[in-house]
């Protein structure tokens, strides 16, 4: 287990999250892909924290976790409001604010 190995796992997970956001249409699937991307960033932060033996990286990961919790709460509330309006969570049907 090397720092490079951990960082490569983090990069691959982030790329998978990007593919999920770019190719899926369900709002909840997109939210889950965003969670994967946030976790990939967290993994890189902890790897660097371990490499330089300093807790700063863990504090950043802690803040990102808090941010992810807030994002999930607001995002899911938006999905519920959306479902009431459209009976669907398909992001392609959200064209009200498109010109």
């Amino acid at each position: 287990m090397t720092p490079q190995g951990i960082l490569l796992v983090s990069v691959v997970l982030f790329a998978l999250g990007v593919v999920g956001v770019l190719t899926r249409r369900g709002a909840i699937t997109i939210l889950m892909s965003v969670e994967i991307m946030l976790n990939a960033a967290n993994l890189a932060f902890i790897a660097f924290s371990r490499q330089f033996d300093h807790p700063d990286g863990q504090v950043y990961a802690f803040f990102i976790m808090t941010l992810a919790a807030a994002e999930a709460a607001v995002g899911l509330a938006i999905v519920i409001a959306l479902f009431r309006l459209r009976e669907s969570t398909d992001v392609d049907e959200l064209n009200l604010m498109k010109w």
Partner: protein
């Protein structure tokens, strides 16, 4: 031992992430995301960050996953809506190509710019609640207060958004 744990966690993390982005049934995707989050917690344990591993299991695999599953069941949409078209070949292809380019560039940056090395021995206090908490409340105190304010705002916002009428 450490290497085999690393390999198992890597396979688990990547396979479960692929299930999340590929499976049509969103409940399966959500459960697979839980597996992914737990495997990330395993990585944190391998990196000696016990406190963060515990937080990961409690906050992510506990709270956020329950929230996502709760909404999936509340809205009764295990499947993505029937009307949903599959992404066009251009969109899907471009997404995969962009991600592959990202992996190639970052992989080159990680392996090309640095020479392979092992992690140094951690100090005994590394990853404990005491070491993280000291830095959190000494150097990042204002950021901590700001993020607690953000949580309150997100909570009020979520109630406001999801409520039928105030």
């Amino acid at each position: 031992m450490e290497l085999s744990a690393f390999v198992v966690l890597t396979v688990l993390a990547i396979v479960s992430a692929m299930v999340v982005i590929l499976h049509r049934n969103q409940v399966v995707a959500a459960l697979s995301l839980a597996a992914n989050l737990v495997s990330i917690a395993g990585f944190y344990l391998l990196l000696h960050a016990q406190f963060l591993a515990l937080l990961q299991v409690i906050v992510y695999a506990g709270a956020i996953m329950v929230l996502i599953l709760f909404v999936l069941m509340l809205l009764n949409l295990p499947e993505e809506s029937r009307r949903a078209r599959a992404p066009g070949p251009i969109q899907a292809g471009l997404g995969v190509v962009l991600a592959a380019v990202f992996v190639a560039v970052m992989g080159w940056a990680v392996f090309g710019a640095t020479e392979a090395s092992a992690f140094p021995r951690p100090s005994p206090a590394f990853g404990t609640v005491a070491s993280v908490g000291t830095v959190l409340f000494r150097d990042y105190f204002y950021a901590f207060e700001a993020i607690s304010l953000l949580l309150v705002v997100a909570m009020v916002g979520a109630v406001l958004l999801a409520k039928r009428r105030l």
